[in-house]
């Protein structure tokens, strides 16, 4: 049986719905040493800023129950470096390259989008990073700033625009709706949940920058709930993310309403997690005699 795994965001075609989450897969170059990244539906780069960013002081990660807190702080070498040194080396991947961008204000988002226009397959607008002082999550926690950022990005590029949402809000479905209304082609969720861990012997936080963002299986039920809420509220595709560790989790996300998924921290436990999950999805569909991934999207039975 031939299974149709393809899906679309705007006019952009994905050969399968498995993407790798920003900040957990580098730019694909290191991963290439382990696995065939061209088999993926797409890779999302570490978030790119206008100027190089050194990131937060160490320690930047701490394990928690069934998850981890991180406070990388968007370390990256900036847009020039990305366009000149990195992008030429990853263009050869036979998959969609999605550039994640993070700005300090809406103008920076606009500039980043402008520079990336025509250069990559799509842009993921990170308005949800919990680990930076300026911008980041605060954009995605507010309807009007979300609107402003998306409008600006929309003006500057014809590429598909994906808005990455933060779950640290009262109604993520409202932020998703505003994104849709202002020109987003898709939304992705969730970014990490604000968290804290304290070393009781030193009385210091375990992370160098005090707080961090929680990812991993611990957040899966919360992420799944958010995806379900959002998918009911908008018509553009939803990209689901948050604690997806195996194909079973992935199928739950599709059933809750995700058209595509992003694999994040799972890659740290299993460098090949994304490809293993892709294989598992195919196997599941085959076993259940389902011909296309689209057929299970949003099919959770609500009565």
């Amino acid at each position: 049986m031939n299974i149709d795994l393809t899906t679309k965001i705007g006019e952009l075609r994905f050969k399968n719905p498995v993407l790798t989450a920003s900040g957990t897969f580098g730019y694909g170059l290191i991963m290439e040493e382990f696995s065939d990244v061209s088999l993926l539906g797409g890779i999302i780069t570490k978030s790119i800023t206008l100027k190089p960013k050194v990131g937060n002081p160490a320690p930047r990660i701490v394990e928690t129950a069934c998850g981890m807190l991180n406070s990388i702080g968007l370390e990256n070498r900036g847009i020039d470096n990305f366009l000149e040194d990195i992008l030429p080396g990853i263009r050869r991947f036979k998959t969609n390259i999605i550039a994640s961008i993070a700005g300090k204000d809406e103008d920076e988002y606009g500039l980043l989008a402008e520079r990336l226009d025509r250069q990559v397959s799509a842009i993921e607008v990170n308005i949800s990073c919990p680990n930076v002082k300026e911008g980041g999550m605060s954009f995605g926690q507010d309807i009007s700033s979300t609107k402003r950022v998306i409008k600006k990005v929309r003006m500057k590029t014809a590429l598909p625009v994906i808005v990455k949402l933060t779950p640290n809000v009262t109604s993520i479905e409202d932020i998703a709706k505003v994104s849709e209304d202002n020109g987003a082609d898709a939304v992705s969720l969730v970014n990490t949940y604000k968290g804290l861990s304290i070393d009781i012997s030193s009385r210091k936080p375990e992370l160098g920058s005090f707080t961090g963002g929680l990812s991993g299986p611990a957040i899966k039920p919360l992420a799944l709930y958010s995806i379900w809420k959002v998918a009911k509220n908008i018509d553009i595709p939803v990209i689901g993310c948050g604690g997806i560790m195996n194909f079973n989790d992935a199928i739950e996300f599709f059933m809750a309403g995700a058209s595509l998924i992003e694999i994040g921290s799972a890659t740290f436990r299993e460098p090949n997690a994304a490809l293993k999950i892709l294989k598992g999805i195919k196997h599941f569909l085959k076993t259940k005699k389902i011909k296309a991934i689209k057929e299970i999207v949003g099919t959770v039975n609500e009565n």
Partner: protein, 259 residues
């Protein structure tokens, strides 16, 4: 870095060296045995998500399909690894990172503080195999059976120091360096160090004072172990940027890093 793989490894043996120190031998089916002293592996303890992350361990010894690690139990993960018995399984990702470079014309001095011996043991064995002469300074707070193992394997090459004088001289490992160097018939040295941060700082300072190349193996909390999460950063000296311990290291030239 091209022979990195995720091996479904099997415990061959688990030897209890001391209270909280275990020497575990693992079978990595298909592993070609090619690894450099200083490289490390990431261990996935089991299939449950608690603990969630892999744990990094230096390669202690390694030959075709077989890898040994020396592990000290300090928390949940290391305790679970130490409890693994013959025939039990763990996934091993490796070999990872960059090893110690061997400067051909220099006399190697290995400086190990406690568990810092793990990667240096491998280096010592490699040097022995290459018929290179070298010295080891092994420092501990108070002597443990680990020192006995080191003596058995490296004999007269080892200079023992302890904080309390329970074995060898009552001195810190870094303070022992001038003693060794000044008595040595050699002129050009390379220093290889692994141990507590304080010791590493002292060793780096000593090296830069005497213009001796120093290579240190660092530890940081790790998530991916391969360079994609940017979690294991260490400050790059002379810039405001960072290096990753897992991919740019774990072995660094002393002058490269701020610790």
């Amino acid at each position: 870095m091209t022979n990195i793989k995720d091996y479904p490894a099997i415990v061959i043996s688990n030897k209890h060296i001391d209270d909280n120190i275990f020497l575990i031998e693992l079978l990595l089916p298909g592993f070609d045995g090619k690894a450099e002293p200083g490289q490390f592996i990431m261990i996935k303890i089991d299939e449950t998500y608690d603990p969630f992350l892999r744990r990094p361990y230096s390669i202690f010894e390694c030959k075709k399909e077989k890898v040994k690690i020396l592990i000290k139990t300090v928390g949940k993960g290391s305790k679970m690894i130490a409890e693994k018995k013959r025939k039990e399984e763990m996934d091993i990702l490796g070999p990872l990172g960059n090893g110690f470079p061997v400067d051909k014309n220099n006399y190697p001095i290995l400086v190990a503080g406690g568990m810092g011996i793990a990667p240096l043991w491998f280096l010592g064995r490699r040097l022995t195999k290459l018929r290179n002469k070298f010295s080891i300074i092994f420092g501990e707070k108070t002597t443990t059976p680990l020192a006995e193992e080191i003596k058995k394997t490296f004999g007269a090459k080892v200079f023992f120091v302890t904080d309390d004088g329970s074995r060898g001289i009552k001195l810190t490992a870094s303070a022992a360096l001038p003693l060794i160097l000044d008595k040595s018939p050699y002129r050009k040295f390379s220093i290889y160090a692994c141990g507590p941060k304080g010791m590493l700082k002292d060793v780096i300072n000593f090296g830069s004072g005497r213009n001796i190349p120093v290579y240190v193996s660092l530890e940081e909390k790790m998530a991916c172990g391969i360079g994609v999460c940017l979690g294991c950063s260490v400050k790059r000296r002379g810039t405001d940027g960072f290096l990753t311990v897992c991919r740019d290291g774990p072995v660094f030239k002393g002058e490269e890093v701020m610790i």
